[in-house]
């Protein structure tokens, strides 16, 4: 019985691990792409390891869109929304 449990457990992990990695793949690639210059993103085969360009990308994002201002806006809205929601829902 103990032996059977071992093989069942191994099979379950063998099935679930590739699926979990597949689920994480888009998020991992999002991270990798954030560290590469644009021409590297479109390389074939797809780059799988992060490069060193994260801060350059962040700088150009900030220059193009004033990203930190957008981030601050989101933070403010989510803060006010949470506070307002809590307050209204907790009203007697």
């Amino acid at each position: 019985v103990k032996r059977r449990r071992f093989w069942l457990s191994l099979g379950l992990h063998g099935l679930l691990t590739p699926l979990a990695l597949l689920w994480l793949a888009p998020l991992w690639l999002m991270l990798v792409f954030s560290t590469l210059p644009e021409h590297e993103i479109f390389r074939v085969p797809t780059p799988l390891l992060p490069g060193g360009g994260f801060f350059e990308n962040l700088a150009s994002l900030q220059a193009d869109t004033n990203f930190f201002r957008a981030l601050a806006n989101s933070l403010l809205v989510s803060l006010l929304y949470t506070l307002g929601g809590l307050l209204l829902s907790a009203l007697p």
């Binding site: 379950l12 992990h13 888009p26 690639l29 479109f42 797809t46 007697p92």
Partner: protein, 282 residues
């Protein structure tokens, strides 16, 4: 005297409810009977509700939405059930990692993951086609052929929402009393019988909840088709949500958009009612 006090305390809430919930809902119902294509808007009930019945674009959008409802929702819920069973299994180690992996997509903003999916399914440079070519398949023009474009939408939705439903179902699994399993195994029921006669009946209310949420979400589906395929190619992935947006915010035809919105709401209410009747405890 006493009977007035509760309403006084409820007043702030009732005021906000009336202003931001009841009024828009009632007003959009009224709008759906107006001809809003000419100024000044005027009452002309047939112009929107009549058009709805013979508008080919509306029927395409409805057909696409029902297709996703019939294919993606069952696929996702079966997968979510299997995942929940696996995550609940005593045989599984590193549960935290697996739970994180499948739930992580929910935390990512729809706009961000849509951009990544567009890259992954890019025809020439995307990772999916690179993988297919490595396996000896020429790959697909994913975003620009009708069938594959719909497949991308289904895959994206499944990727994003399966973990979410699995966590809901997992909570349901954990709320089934252990004694039932003990009693079942004392009566000689194997794992298969336990699943059909203890797990599934115990999970029924949670399953119906997940099903109804998924149905409502699918009927209102907008973000993924709008951002990943733009409803295209042609109208191949246009859903009711996308068509509603086009009518309301591109053509500024608020009357017709309201009629579409009410159709979606009626469909959602009808489907939900049907599911709750169908799967009710007997």
């Amino acid at each position: 005297m006493c009977t007035k006090a509760p309403f006084f305390f409820l007043a702030p809430y009732l005021f906000l409810f009336a202003l931001f919930w009841a009024w828009p809902i009632l007003y959009s119902f009224y709008l759906s009977f107006l001809n809003t294509r000419v100024y000044p808007w005027h009452l002309e009930p047939a112009v929107n509700w009549g058009r709805l019945l013979q508008d080919p674009f509306f029927w395409v959008a409805l057909k696409n939405t029902l297709f996703i409802l019939a294919v993606q929702v069952p696929l996702m819920l079966v997968l979510a059930l299997l995942l929940a069973l696996a995550l609940n299994s005593a045989l599984l180690r590193l549960k935290g990692f697996y739970r994180f992996a499948f739930f992580a997509p929910v935390v990512v903003g729809a706009v961000a993951y849509s951009a990544v999916f567009r890259l992954l399914f890019n025809t020439e440079f995307g990772a999916v086609n690179a993988l297919l070519r490595a396996l000896g398949h020429p790959g697909y023009d994913w975003l620009y052929t009708p069938g594959p474009a719909m497949a991308v939408i289904v895959l994206a939705l499944t990727w994003r929402w399966t973990g979410y439903n699995a966590i809901i179902l997992l909570a349901g699994l954990q709320s089934i009393p252990r004694e039932l399993y003990e009693a079942a195994s004392l009566d000689g029921a194997g794992p298969w019988h336990q699943f059909w006669h203890v797990t599934l009946p115990g999970l029924r209310p949670v399953l119906v909840f997940a099903l109804v949420l998924s149905i409502i979400g699918t009927l209102q589906l907008f973000t993924e088709p709008f951002l990943i395929t733009g409803g295209g190619p042609g109208n191949a992935t246009m859903t009711l949500g996308v068509y509603l947006y086009q009518q309301g915010f591109r053509s500024f035809n608020f009357g017709y958009a309201s009629a579409i919105a009410y159709t979606v709401a009626l469909l959602a209410a009808g489907f939900s009612f049907l599911q709750m009747r169908l799967w009710r405890e007997r």
